[in-house]
Symmetry: C2
Subunit: 464 residues, 2 copies
């Protein structure tokens, strides 16, 4: 049923908010591994070059999460205690962006799921809560992790605190120095913070000896988190994206969105979202992609949006590669720019990762999902227009998806096409005002795709 806006009696309304009842928070996560046309290539243990076994992961993850990582069950029940925390901010609203539509004069109908309503301000707690819960159930006392821009560290600090666990965060040195307020947020939630590389791990000490002034990197911080967990019996490690169980937990976004669309008798023609590791985008689109795989929605278009400075899906190679710079993780089959690649310092810090979630990569490789890359100036311009119309100041990461939405809506206008466009508005930009300041002063730099650097780092990818 595709009624025109005025036919639906909306000509007076400038916004539409579809809010589910609390009872409609999903009771199970949706696992797309059950519906893949062909199975996922397994992660490989670099020591044996054999497919990873559950026990290989046991030193750093609780068994329930390892099971979820490898499960092909379609539905995995959400524990009551996790749903109870979700209730603090879920169901998150689905908005119709009527003001943006009007500004663009587009016949398209634009909808977005708003995940910035969580206390840490993004979609990240959807998995942080679950990961903290399963670790608590297994008697773990502390979780170590890394954080770049700070969204993931904040979410895990929040989640561990609610379940009575301690949290140690290795924060990329450059962010630690430049983003003191994210640091304070994590401390308000009782996290213990280290500037990475730190003296707290052997790997960190080694790097500091070589270069005491190193600004660190996400790869280094991951290695420190993993080492901390692997060397302490009471401690596990947690990752905020990329892995299957993380994408699984984020399916609550797409499941809620689907229910909300059902209530208003709509279904997206096209879905956009920003891709760093891929978890928010995949979580928001996987229940819809399942319809496409099943053949129910053959024309559905699904597009991941990434930065031109770190264009993994659009320029990367589909290879087995390490998840971290220090080669401590399993080998994952993914689009990669090479695990030693250090992207230019764009302001969307959450999108500066050399690889992507294997699940997302497989669906891109097999043609179910497309990808597009943007320069940061057009992305920030899209964020500004969104703030001016919808009133919400979004994270620069999120704005990559919004830029695609605006382009699509303008194309619909040119072609007189009435499409339903959906995107996941993954988080607010309250801790990104320094970046917006640079943009507003006209000082934002567009970095060309660093082809030569990528060539060098791809040469270091192991042959499997």
């Amino acid at each position: 049923m595709r009624l025109l806006q005025k036919e639906r009696g909306e000509k007076e309304k400038m916004n539409e908010k579809i809010l589910l009842d609390e009872e409609e928070i999903p009771k199970a996560w949706y696992n797309i591994q059950a519906d893949l046309p062909s199975p996922l290539d397994p992660p490989i243990n670099p020591a044996t070059m054999e497919p990873l076994k559950p026990e290989d992961l046991a030193p750093i993850f609780p068994m329930e999460l390892i099971k979820q990582e490898m499960s092909t069950e379609r539905w995995i029940p959400i524990p009551d205690a996790v749903r109870d925390v979700y209730r603090l901010w879920r169901p998150s609203p689905l908005y119709r962006a009527l003001r943006l539509e009007k500004k663009l004069k587009t016949p398209a109908r634009i909808y977005y799921k708003w995940e910035g309503v969580s206390p840490p301000g993004s979609h990240k707690p959807n998995t942080a809560i679950a990961q903290a819960y399963y670790n608590m159930k297994e008697g773990i006392e502390r979780i170590a992790t890394e954080t770049g821009a700070g969204q993931w560290g904040s979410a895990l600090a929040f989640g561990t605190m609610l379940f009575g666990l301690k949290c140690t965060v290795y924060m990329v040195g450059a962010s630690y120095d430049r983003k003191p307020y994210r640091k304070v947020m994590m401390e308000m939630w009782n996290a213990e913070l280290y500037r990475s590389p730190s003296k707290n791990t052997e790997f960190g000490r080694k790097l500091l000896e070589e270069d005491p002034d190193t600004p660190g990197s996400l790869g280094i911080a991951i290695s420190e988190g993993v080492e901390d967990a692997a060397t302490h019996d009471d401690t596990h490690y947690a990752l905020g994206s990329v892995l299957n169980h993380v994408l699984l937990h984020q399916s609550v976004i797409g499941l809620e969105a689907k229910k909300a669309f059902e209530q208003i008798d709509e279904y997206p023609d096209v879905i956009y979202g920003c891709v760093g590791g891929g978890s928010n985008f995949f979580g928001s689109c996987s229940p819809f992609v399942a319809d496409k795989i099943r053949g129910d929605k053959p024309d559905l278009k699904v597009v991941g949006c990434e930065p031109m400075a770190c264009p993994t899906l659009t320029k990367g190679l589909y290879l087995y590669d390490f998840g971290d710079c220090a080669e401590m993780t399993p080998l994952l089959k993914m689009f990669t720019l090479g695990h030693t690649f250090v992207p230019p310092p764009i302001h969307a810090g959450g999108l500066r990762y050399h690889g992507d979630a294997p699940l997302l990569c497989k669906l891109v490789k097999d043609g179910w999902i497309d990808a597009v890359a943007y320069h940061q100036n057009e992305v920030f311009k899209a964020a500004k227009l969104f703030a001016e119309t919808e009133g919400i100041i979004i994270a620069p990461e999120t704005a990559h998806g919004v830029n695609a939405v605006i382009n699509e809506a303008l194309r619909c206008k040119e072609e007189g096409k009435e499409e339903v466009i959906f995107f996941n508005n993954s988080g607010h930009g309250h801790f990104d005002m320094g970046s917006y300041d640079v943009f507003l002063r006209g000082k934002l730099v567009d970095y060309e795709y660093p082809a030569e650097l990528v060539k060098q780092s791809l040469a270091k990818v192991p042959k499997v």
Copy 2:
């Protein structure tokens, strides 16, 4: 009906969120002037020393707001266009703070209305939207205002943008220098910003000549906003608290809270809230105070919470005084510390005002509402405990009310008393992390009540 938690089947739940349907956003504001036991003392025109006439305000306010300022109608309809913007984040949720209750081991039931869900992050848009709308209807093209910590400036920038008006904000110099991120937020919403005192007004230029390095004050910034509005035909002025029409607009908080309480068959025994100018506290409690005045709820306790460094309600005198330092506003009957009083630099910048809303002051004077004052260290400690339990990092202003709630809940525990406690959680602290950093490092200073300074400034209050 006062069921114990477990009788209400909640022993598994760790939080409870009561969310009204969108249709239940109030259709009219509640005006307590209709129910006052005796009329409010009128504002006085300092030029004539006669009660202010509507036409005295016409150069700086639209006639609809002037009518609201003086109205004794009980219900004032909310225009559809204003309700439509409210729908972006309203109805705001009413939360039961089960995690906080559990931590305090209190038999009290603690509820809070969460106003931080608005895009600018506080209750301020409830009135900013309405003020922008009425100015737009009257053909005004620009609104000038002042802002201290930045909450009000952000809200008005947001509101004017949505109704197509321009916005000029005079931001207190010290805040302009120290809070660059609030500044960027306002610029994202297209506000034009001046560091106050500025060269943009005669008053500003005079002050800069006397002292080019002055950090400014809220009183100075108000004077600049008023002068800008008074000297430009297309421009009006807007105030974010104190005035009757501002408190009227904030009644949406209390009206929604009351409906939500009805749904769960509860009614507060005691209401707390932070008081700067008084608008968020008064808006949240006025529909309940009406029940008390009417005799339906004689035992209801209502308490405004303020900083010891600026204790207007607890230490001020009930006198006619100017609303600004430069003596450009009408004289208002209120509890005042004297309009030339400059409070110590506490971190709750939004509570550093020498007076209070006349409506609130009258009800305090007449014994319907009580007040209490706190030092900032205990207030920040309360905010930390709230973040650790409820997961939300609140503004330092808001934390004054939370400190009172915690004290009350602990008293209930001592006395084995099962009370219903309600407070308005007026905003988030995402732009206050610098202050929380000072607190976490143990460097927060408690300022004694500046009795001698207050004595001096009270001596400068005009005799009426």
